[in-house]
Structure formats: C-alpha cells, structure tokens
C-alpha cells in the first residue's frame, strides 16, 4: 500500500526526521491560507500515487498566496499523468503546500528489502534528485549500500564507515546518521517495503531535510496496522482493481488488450496471458481468483471482467483442486444473469468436478465454447476476435 507524500511526511516528522514546514490543502482557499503563513517562496505539490511529478507539471513554485491559490485551482479536481504512471491519469484531490528550501546539495536515501540478499538494505547516493535506476545503471559506484541484519538493525559502525567515505562535515554526517536510524525505525515499526527520500537535501543553513518522501507498506502486514489502513486513498486506484481488492482477487488491468482472462493460480494466469498474446490476441487483464474461490468471488470476478469495455472475448482457464469447477461455473452463470451482459467465452476446465461444470455452462444462456487445452483455447479466441 502506497502513502501520499503528505502522509509519509507526517510519519517522518513523528519519528524525528526533519522536513520543511508544510501542510496539506483540500481546496484553493486552504492552499492560499497555508501559503500566507509561509515567508518566501512556496512549493505546491499534487498528491498522487505516481513518481515523476515534477516533469509532468505536478510540482509548482510560486511567490505569493494569490498565485498559490491559482495553482491549487488548476491542480485540485484535475488529473496527473507522469512518465512513471504507465498511462494512468491520477486524480488530484489534495495538494501539499510547503516552504521552499535553499538547497546546497541533494542526496538519495532509501530503506528497502533486498530480495537477493534476503534482508533490508539502506541505499545512499550522492546523486540525489535523479532517477535512481538510471544512476545505478550509469554510475553504479555512486550507489552505496548497507545490508541490515533484521535481528540486529543497522549497526551504527556500518553507517559511520559508509558516511566517512563521503568526507562530509561532521555536523552533516551526524544528521544523516540520525536520519538513517530513524528511517529504519519507521521501516521496521510499520512493516514497510520501501521508504525513499529523494532528494534528501542539505540546506544553506547546513540542515539535512527530507524534501520528498515515498512510503510503501507491505500489503501482507496491513492486518497489524489498522491506523495505516485508514490512510488508504482509494481514489488513486483503478475502479475495477479496487473492487477486486475488496473481493480478495488478484487483478491487474492491462492496456490495449481485448481478451478478459479468468484463471486460478498466479503462475497459470501469467501463462494464460503469455499464450493468448502468442496466439495474436492481447490480454485485457491479469486475474487470479485464487486456489479456493467461492461462488460469490467468481461472480465478482466475472462482473469485473464483463464491466471492462475493452473486453470482447473472455477466456476462462481453471484447474480444479480445492476450487471445484462446478462452483466456479455457478459463479460465472450468476455473474452473467445478474449483470446481464453477454460476452462470448472460451472455457478450459480441468480437475475437480469439471464435467458437472461443463453441463451447467452448456445449459446456461451464455455464448460459450469449450476447449480441451490452453493452446486450443487461445486459437479459438483469435478466431472469435476476427469475426
């Protein structure tokens, strides 16, 4: 689960990580009011779940409260599409209003999970404010890492050694060292998968502050953090994806495809997408109904796929194990009857009760054809699309 910058900054502040003065505004007049309490230039930042806001026009610097109001007027209620948002337009409902900082130098600082080393890792780079993947590719020597033993935490000596290699003033490295320890405390307490401060700035007053903040919480840990769950902003999510999430379905909308896929098992779902693509038809979504989906969940899955206007054909590929195929068939038929939108389907059913399921589907009013296996189904799909 991703947090907004303003939410992340509240957390940073709680854990004694210095940030510039700032407040969130829900309207242009609020933005004006906050701006008038700030001396000097004001930064206004669109609160959306996408990186690369600056280049996309989601971050503006203004001189006075009246200009601040105008910028907020333009931003709030609008949408933002960035090079990192994959074509998605994110609605802007809030802006963050912050005092502008006088910056001498920018660093990059992050705590994340290193899945190869199977432990948390602290990443520091002197190339702040840049796309870190690019820095890693072009100048890997500018990226420094500390791997953290999760049973011990980041040893102060390791942090000291890393910082001493940068030849910073003692005052500065002391501040960064504290920030690292505090970020790790957040990382651990909130079960984060990522905390990214880009840039971490050194100001002309020799203060180290977090100018931007990105926090992602491990979805599988949310059960431990009901307070964090409340910070979830559903407006930043595709409506179908949100519906899927509420029904415990793994669903991802894909751009440009026409084939709606309903599969059980993540591996099989990926394989189904691949094969559909190879047969010359692009998948419109990834959908894993899971190993033990109920009739109701399958019905929801059908509705989510059928409500996608891009979908012209539906491919169902189920391998009955704990999931019974007849239960799945009932869910599909209910979905069709309650939603009342007929979309041609090609169905592959194997395993537990697949014969009963076929009978149920044959006797329904669905426009359905059966295939023995996935490759046959995929070529059937391409034929249907051509019609």
């Amino acid at each position: 689960m991703q947090l907004h910058e303003y939410q992340a900054k509240n957390i940073l502040s709680e854990y004694n990580v210095p940030i510039p003065f700032g407040q969130v505004a829900l309207s242009d007049s609020e933005c004006e009011k906050i701006s008038s309490s700030i001396n000097g230039k004001v930064v206004i930042k669109a609160q959306v779940h996408a990186g690369g806001r600056g280049k996309a026009g989601g971050i503006k610097i203004v001189d006075n409260p009246l200009d601040a109001k105008k910028v907020a007027q333009d931003m709030i209620g609008g949408t933002l599409k960035t090079f990192q948002s994959g074509g998605t337009k994110f609605p802007i409902n809030k802006v963050y209003v912050e005092e502008a900082s006088d910056i001498l130098k920018e660093f990059y600082l992050a705590v994340t999970m290193d899945f190869d080393e199977k432990c948390p890792v602290i990443i520091l780079s002197t190339e702040g404010g840049m796309n870190i993947e690019e820095v890693a590719e072009k100048t890997p020597d500018k990226i420094m890492k500390i791997h953290v033993n999760p049973l011990i935490g980041p040893s102060p000596y390791k942090v000291r050694n890393l910082l001493s290699s940068l030849n910073l003033e003692k005052k500065i490295s002391q501040q960064i060292s504290n920030i690292i320890q505090n970020l790790y405390r957040i990382f651990k307490s909130l079960d984060c998968t990522l905390i990214e401060i880009n840039p971490l700035a050194i100001t002309s007053q020799e203060k180290v502050i977090a100018l931007d903040a990105k926090i992602t919480i491990d979805d599988d840990s949310i059960f431990r953090h009901s307070d964090i769950e409340e910070l979830f902003d559903e407006t930043q999510m595709n409506r179908s994806e949100l519906k899927a999430l509420r029904n415990d379905l793994a669903y991802i909308k894909l751009d440009g495809g026409k084939v709606g896929c309903m599969v059980n098992g993540a591996g099989l779902a990926m394989a189904t997408m691949d094969i559909t693509m190879k047969a010359g038809a692009a998948p419109a979504n990834f959908l894993d109904v899971g190993g033990s989906a109920s009739e109701e969940r399958i019905e929801e899955a059908y509705k989510i796929i059928a409500s996608d206007n891009d979908v012209e054909v539906i491919l169902v590929n189920l391998f009955g194990g704990i999931l019974r195929c007849d239960v799945a068939a009932k869910g599909i038929i209910n979905g069709f009857e309650n939603y009342n939108k007929s979309i041609p389907m090609v169905v592959v059913l194997r395993g537990t009760n697949s014969e009963d399921a076929k009978l149920l589907l044959e006797n329904s009013e669905l426009d359905i054809s059966f295939a023995e296996d996935l490759p046959t189904a995929a070529s059937e799909i391409t034929k249907k699309l051509k019609k």
């Binding site: 432990c119 033993n149 591996g267 099989l268 693509m277 194990g321």
Partner: protein, 292 residues
C-alpha cells in the same frame, strides 16, 4: 534423495483449520504417514480417527518423533510456527501458507542460518515423491505417476500443469517440488537442482520459473557449472507489465534482470531446452528422453 527425508515419512501437521484438515486427509489418502497434529486449542483431541493433536510442536516431537513438518497456520502466525518447528529441530519444514509479511520472513531467514533445518516455501504447494507414497503439501496425488523426471517450480498451478502433461504422455516423476511464489523463501531452484543431480532415480529435470528476482539466473549458473542431467525450462510472465505484482508476491518486474526474456536467455545459454510455453513442457521432455 535423503535431503527431503523420503525414507522417514513421518509427518507432523501444524494448523488444522478448514484447509489444513482437508489437505491432511488428501496426504493420508495418498499414503503419507501423518503421525501428529499441532493446534493451540485442540490439544488432547485426535483427527482422522486416531492421529493425536498436541498443544505444541515440542510435545508432538517428544511423543511422535516426526521428521517432516507441514504448516497450514494462517499468515499472521505462520512465521512463529516456522520458528517453533526450527526450535524443535524438525529437519524439513514445508510451509504452504500464503501472505506472510516480508518482515517476518527476513527474520525467519536470518534465524535459519547455521541451523540444520531445511525450509520449503512459504506460499508453496510442498513436495511429492510418487514412488515413496510421500505427499507433503497440496500437490494433487491423483495426477502423479512414479518415474524419472524431477519437477521444480515457483508456481503451484504450473507444477500441476507440468505433471498432468508428463503423466498423460506416460512419463513419470521422481519428485515434484514447489518452492513457492514469495520473494523470500527457504529452498531455492539451486538447492532442488543439486538434489536432483544427486538422486540416482532422476534422469531429467523440469524447471518452471517466472518474472521477478534473479533465482532463475542463479539456477542457470548452477546448471552450467554442475548439473549433468538434461533440463527443460519454461518461464512465465513474458507479457506482464513492469512494477505490478502478478498474484505472487515475488512476481514483479523491478529492473532488467527480473524480465522473463533475461531469464530465458541465461537458461538457454546454460544449455537448457526452453519450452516457449508451459503447455509444451511434456512434449519437450518426451523429445529430450527420445534423444537420450
């Protein structure tokens, strides 16, 4: 193949809720010797007519000496169950549970270091050795056939997919191992490849990987350096978008090395026969065994 304790066959099962109980029955049906269950509030009761349930793993170990532990405990408590079984010195643990917090798994991984216990999973279907009537996990016992091909996969459903194809073609399996779809897990592709290499019965290997991480590349390196048996591999997720979690917590493209194409290239470079799609695995293995 003693690494997976195929000859001891004494299994403890922890977590006897709806799924755990159902799956325990399937294991028993297949011929697995389940000697005890563990459940915090059902101590003193029995399941499946006469198998004793204990309140703790230590007690179950003391009374029934299992050598394999199978975990179905819900995600919030699963890491603790793994640690309990490690502390009770159970040599092999299979954790089926999906959705364990990453922060819990990094601790488990650290705790495992230097210990003799081997962990398979989490978020995995476990393993099955047809010849020994040993089924530890949820791989359907009805689709397997005893034989000489070792199957290893990150995905549960694709493990079944491969097994079904092989069995249909009359090709049996020496062992089927699901290592799980989480980014942090116990046993890796490399561990299982080594096991298959050592095992006299295994003549060929099927490996099914997916996007995310670099474990398939590590496997490719191992195959190149020390696996003499022929390998057929398939990698799914070729059409997956970047940065999205494709059902499995570990199936996310985060940089070039996580791409399916990169993994396929490394494996091909290591001399592995690539099945373009998992639906072609059976035929590829058949092709390979004929040449042999």
């Amino acid at each position: 193949m003693n690494i997976l304790n195929q000859d001891s066959n004494k299994v403890l099962i922890q977590g006897l809720g709806r799924d755990g109980s159902f799956q325990a029955e399937r294991c028993i049906e297949f011929g697995t010797n389940i000697v005890s269950g563990v459940h915090p509030t059902k101590s003193g009761e029995t399941f499946n007519r006469n198998i004793p349930i204990f309140g703790s793993v230590f007690e179950a170990v003391k009374k029934t000496s299992p050598e394999i532990g199978l975990i179905f405990v819900p995600a919030p408590f699963a890491a603790d169950a793994i640690i309990e079984q490690i502390d009770a010195s159970i040599p092999i643990i299979v954790c089926v549970t999906e959705g364990i917090p990453v922060s819990d798994m990094v601790k488990v991984n650290e705790y495992l270091k230097g210990k003799k216990t081997k962990l398979i999973g989490p978020n995995c279907p476990g393993y099955l050795i047809p010849d020994k009537k040993l089924k530890v996990g949820i791989i359907p016992g009805t689709i397997v056939k005893s034989g000489n091909v070792g199957v290893v996969s990150r995905s549960g459903t694709l493990t079944y997919e491969a097994i079904v194809q092989l069995t249909k073609l009359g090709i049996g399996q020496s062992a089927c191992v699901g290592i799980g779809g989480d980014p942090i897990n116990g046993t890796s592709f490399v561990d299982v490849l080594d096991m298959f290499e050592e095992d006299n019965k295994t003549e060929a290997i099927v490996m099914i990987g997916e996007i995310g991480g670099t474990k398939e590349q590590e496997a490719a390196e191992r195959i190149k350096s020390s696996i003499s048996k022929p390998v057929v591999a398939s990698i799914v997720g070729q059409t997956a978008p970047e940065g999205r979690r494709m059902g499995h917590a570990g199936a996310v493209i985060t940089g070039k090395s996580a791409l399916a194409s990169e993994k396929i290239n490394s494996l091909r470079d290591a001399g592995v026969l690539i099945a373009d799609s998992p639906t072609e695995i059976g035929l590829k293995v058949q092709e390979l065994l004929k040449i042999k």
